[in-house]
Symmetry: none
DNA sequence: AATGAATGAGAGTTCATTCAT
DNA sequence: CATGAATGAACTCTCATTCAT
C-alpha cells in the first residue's frame, strides 16, 4: 500500500473491507480469522486495527455499505422486460460470493443489534424497491394490473430467499433455476 | 446413567441428543459448548465422547433423525382445511426453538458433506410431502385443480423460508404473519 | 499433580496461588504472565482457567486470603517484650517476597473495587490489632500509659509503610533498620 | 511545533514532559499510551521518539526533573508556623495528581536502575530538607529542642508516606487527615 | 463406562516502536 | 524534523478434545 495516493486511508479501509468480504464469504464470519484477513490484504494483523476497532466492526461496516447499495430497480431496469430483470437479479444472487455471508448475518443479528437494524431496513428496502418496480411495470402493461404489487413483491422475495437456501445446501443450480422460473411464470401468468 | 436398563446405551445417546437439541436451539451450534450440553444431560463432558466422537457428530445425528421425522402431511392432516393446515405449519415453525439452528445448519453444510446431503434430502422430502398433500386436497376439491401442485409446493416453501428469515431478523411477528397469509391466499385464490 | 489426593482440587488451587504469589512478587502483577505462572506450577496455561476465571481473579483470591491472615498480635505475642515484637514484625516485612506486590495492589485498588475494599479492611484490621496489642502492653507496664494507643498504632504503622517504601527503592537495609529502631525508641521513650 | 522559537528543541521536550506528567498522573505509567501523550501534546506519535528514545525514557526524565525540584523548606517556609507548614505540605500531597505515579515509580524502580537511584536521592533530599527546616524551627523556638531533628524528620516522613497509601486505597479523606494531625501533634507535644 | 482435570492450539486484541514518506 | 501507517510480539482467554484415574 503506497501512501502517496490521496485518500489513501479510504483506499486502505476499502482494501480491508474487500479482503474481509472475500474471506468471510469463503469461511464465514466465525470461521474467518483476523490472520487470514490480514494475509489476504497483504498486511499485518495489527494494521487491521488501525482501520477497524474489531472484527465485528468490519462486518458492521460491510453490512452498512451493502445496505446502502440496494438497487433502485425502477430506475435501473426502466422499460426492461420483467422476467428478464428477474433473471438478472437471479444471476446476481447466484454469482454473489456473499450468499453464505448474507445467511450468516441473519444469525449474527440475533446478538448484534446494529446488524439487526440493518437487516430489517434492507429487507424492507428491497421489498419496497421491488414493489415500486412492479407498479411501474404494471403501468407499462408488462405485468397484469389485477395482481397486488405488494403481495407480488413479497412472494417473489420469498422465492429469492428460498433459492438462496437451495443453492447453499448444494442443490443443482440448473434444477433450482428451472423450478424458480416456472414458479415465477406461474405466479405472473395467473 | 444407570446401567440396569437394557439398551441403556441407546437411551444414553438419545438423552445426549435431546439435551443437545435444547442447547443448540438456545445458543446455536457454535455458541453451544460441550460443557453446557454435558450439564444439560447431567453427565460429564468426557461421557459425551463415549457416545459421540465429536460435537459435529452430535449435530450430524440430530440432523439425520430430524430428516427422518419429516411430516407425512397427507396422512397427518387428511381431510383438514388447507389454509388451516398451512397456519398450523406456520405456527409450528414460529414456535420452533430450532429456527436459528436450521439456518445455521445451512451454513455448516458448506463444510460438512454429510449435513449437506441431509439438507438436500430433507428439502426434497418436505417439498414432496407438501406436493402430495396439495394433490390430495385438489382431489378433495379444497384446492383448485388448475394450479400445478409441484409449483404450488415450491412457492409455499419459498414463503415459509422467507418467513423464517424475517422472524430471525426480528421483524414484527404479527406483520410477518399478516403478509404471509395474504400472500398465501392470493396464490390460492387465483 | 496426582489426582489421588482427596481435596485434590483445593491443593491444585493452592499450588496455583503459591506459584502466582511467587511470580507476582518477582515480576509484579502486570509484569507477570499467565504463561509464567503456568510454567511455575508445571501445568498448561489452560489449566489455570480451570481453577480461576482470570488473572485478576487469582490476585483477588491471593489478597482475600492474605487479608484473612492478619496477625492477632495480642495473643500471638502475649507477654513478649514490645520492641522485640516490633523487630519481629519488621523482619517479617523485610523477608516478605510480597513487599512489591503489596504496593502494586495499592495501585490496582484504583481500578478494582474488590481489592480496594480488602485493602481498606486490612489496613484497619492491622491498625486495630496493633492498638489492642499496645493496650495490652500498657496494662503490663511495658509501654507508657500516657501514650495514646490509637495514635501510637497509627504512627508505628506509618513507620512500617515508609520502611517498606525505603526498602523497595533500594535504600541500605541496615541503615533503614537503624533509623527505624531509633525512631521507634524515640517515640516510646518520651 | 513551530521552529521559529530558538531552543524550540528544548521547548518541544518540555511540552512532551508536561503532557506526559498529565497523562501519567491520570492513567499511571502503564495505563498511559504513547498515543494519548502524543494527542495531549498535539503532536504525532513518531515525534515523541524524536525527542525521547522510549516511554520509559520520558518517565526517567520526568523523575530526574522532579528530583531537582525538591522544596527547600527552610527558605520557602522561613518563619512560618510549623504545623501550618506541615498542613500545607499535606494539602500539596493530597492535591497532587501524581500520588499514584509516585507509588508506581517505586515499583518501576525494581527494574529500572536509573529510577531507583533517583528515588533514593529524592528520598534522602526530602528528608534532609525537612530536617534542616526542623532545626531552623527549633532555633526559632517553634519546635522543642529536645526532639532529635533527624528522627523527627524520619517519623514525619513516615506519616506522609502512610497518608499517601491510605488515600490511595480510598480511606476517607477527612478521617485520614484528622488522624494524621493528631499523630503529628502527639509527636510534637512530647 | 464415567469422570473431569489437563491440554494446547489458536482466537482477538493492544501498543511501544519503527521507518518510508 | 514530523508524520502516522505498519509492525509484530505479546497478551489474556476459550474450548473441543484427550486420557489417567
Amino acid at each position: 500500500m503506497t501512501r502517496v495516493v490521496p485518500d489513501y486511508k479510504e483506499i486502505a479501509r476499502s482494501n480491508i473491507l474487500q479482503a474481509s468480504i472475500k474471506v468471510f464469504s469463503k469461511k464465514g464470519f466465525h470461521g474467518a480469522t483476523m490472520n487470514e484477513i490480514a494475509k489476504e490484504v497483504g498486511v499485518s494483523k495489527g494494521t487491521l486495527y488501525t482501520y477497524f476497532k474489531s472484527k465485528e466492526d468490519i462486518l458492521n461496516e460491510i453490512w452498512v455499505l451493502s445496505s446502502q447499495n440496494i438497487l433502485d430497480l425502477k430506475n435501473t431496469y426502466k422499460g426492461r422486460d420483467f422476467i428478464e430483470v428477474l433473471e438478472e437479479l437471479y444471476a446476481m444472487m447466484v454469482e454473489s460470493t456473499g450468499l453464505q455471508l448474507s445467511f450468516e448475518v441473519i444469525l449474527i443479528s440475533q446478538q448484534n443489534e446494529k446488524i439487526k437494524k440493518i437487516n430489517q431496513k434492507s429487507y424492507k428496502s428491497k421489498l419496497e424497491s421491488l414493489k415500486i418496480f412492479i407498479q411501474d411495470q404494471q403501468d407499462n402493461g408488462s405485468v397484469r394490473k389485477d395482481l397486488d404489487a405488494d403481495l407480488l413483491a413479497q412472494i417473489l422475495t420469498g422465492l429469492y430467499t428460498d433459492v438462496a437456501a437451495q443453492l447453499l445446501i448444494g442443490l443443482d443450480n440448473e434444477e433450482v433455476h428451472e423450478k424458480w422460473i416456472k414458479s415465477v411464470k406461474a405466479i405472473l401468468k395467473q
